[in-house]
């Protein structure tokens, strides 16, 4: 057993960290969200004006709605890519497993920005994709919506977050005892039934963890819309950024941030609740 003094001593650094870099900023943010800006100066007067704006101005609702839609699309796409990939690696890759696993991980070492710019050169008007389509005579002029659109944002974020979705699903699939699959076959279930009745339910915690990752990270992303989103691909984080920057409306920016925070935390709790519900020993 450790002494009381020792326990309090070792808990100081983490407590300090959480306090100084998490709780204090959140408190400041919350305080800001209750203030207002008048003639370019922040007025320290408590009020709910910013939250009213948030709920009444359709612009914000629209961007928030679009953000959720993009995050949901990214989640769905990365699940559709990540799950089959994880399934293949866990059950059918054989000797290629190690290599393929590394290949999935390697992109994580490449800077997010580099990957963003790569998509710009691929999707742009004179980018690789358009040049290729014209070379094949499938199109005769550059297709505009590839770049600077919600489509581009979804594409880039899916590319970035698929490994994050893949990893927990792969871990969950690897942990399924193989005799269970034999038992299922033994009881008369073919591959499809075994998947629906055994593999999918047992990989649910990993699937939920991956989905939560992709959704929450996409929700707060502002670089992808900045690089490839254009005006129609603007997301809520870009609005916050401009409110804190050019628009100099910190209180409204803080209020929106609080909104995002509430959504994110609720989602994390929901994710954890569902994961626990699906967890088996």
């Amino acid at each position: 057993m450790y002494s009381r003094t020792y326990k309090s001593l070792v808990s100081i650094p983490p407590l300090f960290w959480v306090g100084a870099f998490l709780l204090l900023p959140y408190a400041l943010m919350f305080a800001h969200s209750l203030w207002t800006v008048r003639e370019g100066v922040i007025v320290h007067q408590w009020n709910w004006e910013n939250y009213k704006t948030l709920f009444t101005n359709p612009l914000y609702a629209e961007v928030l709605f679009r953000t959720m839609r993009i995050a949901a699309s990214v989640t769905l796409c990365s699940l559709l890519l990540g799950y089959p990939l994880a399934y293949y690696l866990a059950f059918h890759a054989g000797a290629r497993k190690e290599l393929l696993y590394q290949l999935v991980i390697v992109p994580l070492w490449v800077s997010y920005l580099v990957r963003g710019y790569a998509w710009k050169t691929i999707l742009g008007s004179d980018g690789v994709l358009n040049a290729f389509l014209q070379y094949l005579h499938l199109t005769h002029e550059p297709v505009g919506f590839f770049l600077y659109s919600p489509f581009a944002v979804v594409l880039m974020l899916t590319h970035i977050y698929t490994p994050f979705v893949f990893l927990p699903i792969y871990a969950a699939l690897e942990h399924i005892p193989r005799p269970l699959l034999e038992a299922s076959q033994d009881l008369g279930a073919g591959s499809l039934q075994t998947f629906w009745r055994v593999i999918l339910p047992l990989s649910m915690p990993g699937l939920l963890a991956g989905a939560t990752f992709a959704f929450v990270l996409s929700l707060g992303d502002f670089l992808a819309p900045l690089l490839v989103g254009g005006p129609s691909g603007t997301m809520i984080a870009n609005v916050v950024q401009s409110l804190f920057g050019a628009a100099f409306d910190w209180p409204l920016g803080a209020a929106i941030s609080m909104g995002i925070l509430v959504i994110t935390i609720s989602l994390l709790f929901l994710g954890e609740f569902l994961e626990k519900r699906w967890a088996f020993k």
């Binding site: 005799p179 034999e182 033994d186 009881l187 279930a189 020993k281």
Partner: protein, 359 residues
């Protein structure tokens, strides 16, 4: 050791027609030959045990029948239908797995209903059959429990019910009792035996425990290094072991190495008349076949020898003696509990109890 069984399985040792036929099955994993040209018949309603040490190929043979492995050569037939070409989910057999392999996300009831559901059994029929299976293994009170809430013995019962509910023609049991502690194991053995008699399903049981095999089986197929050593009823295997290995593996024995010359068998200090061709021989003599001769007399057809007691192990109702018959020959003798023994004594055994075995 030849690849074919020393005692070919006799068709008339068990009642009923042949259910499963294993024909010349071999299996290799890379360079290792795990099963060598196995041929084995299982009769309807029989309790057949595959007995062998780990690595003898007994589990591989079971997995070939279940369909989890493919034979390198040979065929498996069941009721006039070729079994080894079917995928596992189309075979009319069910397996009780070594560590039960119960689905952790399903309740006991849903585990048992699994096989019926995947085969699209009418819903109205499922609940009745599940209840019946639960009561068969005396687990009615645990229908709603998850496997993690059940003890090893209870999980074992659910695994059994999950297999039996499908009414398989053949039930494969892969060391199902090996994870249980000794007492529970004994209890499950007798329940398993009673259950098998009651429902009349053919059991193919895999174990490395010779006592378990003897207690449960109608016949024992003894495997050694991927080949069948002997296939016979437990009593026959014990009384008439075909090989030295079989004699040693099933029960305890004394192996007497010696030779026959001019109708006299000589093994160390022991000699007796034996009407067989000259040559070197091995006899198996069970410790309990030797007894103390109080008056030093012997009947005809008995061998008497004098030996010094070197060690005495008390075992409750019996004593296990290690006796020295001279010429460096030691024998193990099991006698009824008789108090401390020291010095030299006279022992006798009947000539017919010295069973000639293959090396």
């Amino acid at each position: 050791m030849s690849a074919s069984p020393a005692n070919p399985p006799e068709q008339n040792t068990a009642e009923g027609a042949t259910l499963l036929e294993v024909r010349n099955v071999s299996k290799r994993f890379g360079a290792t030959e795990v099963l060598k040209n196995i041929s084995l018949n299982i009769a309807c309603g029989e309790f057949l045990t595959l007995l062998g040490e780990s690595g003898s190929g007994k589990t591989t043979l079971l997995r070939l029948i279940a369909g989890f492995e493919q034979a390198t050569s040979g065929e498996i037939w069941m009721g006039g239908e070729r079994l080894d070409v079917l995928p596992p989910y189309k075979r009319p057999v069910n397996t009780v797995f070594q560590n039960y392999a119960l689905f952790p996300h399903l309740s006991a009831r849903d585990n048992i209903a699994y096989g019926l559901r995947v085969k699209r059994t009418p819903v109205s029929e499922i609940s009745g059959r599940v209840e019946e299976a639960l009561s068969m293994v005396k687990m009615q009170g645990f229908a709603a429990s998850r496997p993690s809430q059940l003890s090893g013995g209870q999980q074992q019962r659910i695994a059994l019910a999950r297999a039996l509910v499908n009414r398989p023609q053949l039930l494969l049991l892969d060391e199902p009792l090996s994870a249980l502690d000794a007492n529970l194991r004994k209890q499950m053995q007798s329940e398993l035996k009673a259950l098998q008699r009651e429902i009349g399903i053919t059991f193919l049981f895999v174990t490395h425990d010779q006592e378990e095999a003897m207690a449960l089986s109608d016949r024992i197929a003894l495997l050694r290094d991927g080949a069948l050593e002997q296939v016979a009823a437990p009593r026959e295997t014990y009384a008439r072991p075909a090989t030295a290995y079989a004699a040693q593996f099933i029960g305890q024995t004394n192996l007497l190495h010696g030779e026959i010359r001019g109708s006299i068998a000589t093994c160390g200090a022991l000699r007796w008349p034996c009407e067989e061709a000259d040559g070197s021989v091995v006899f198996s003599l069970r410790p309990e076949a030797i007894r103390l001769s109080a008056d030093g007399k012997r009947q005809t057809n008995e061998v008497r020898f004098r030996a010094a007691v070197r060690q005495q192990l008390y075992g409750g109702s019996t004593e296990l003696l290690e006796v020295d018959c001279g010429k460096g020959q030691t024998l193990r003798v099991r006698v009824p509990a008789c108090g401390r023994l020291t010095g030299e004594h006279d022992f006798v055994f009947s000539i017919s109890d010295a069973v000639r075995v293959q090396e």
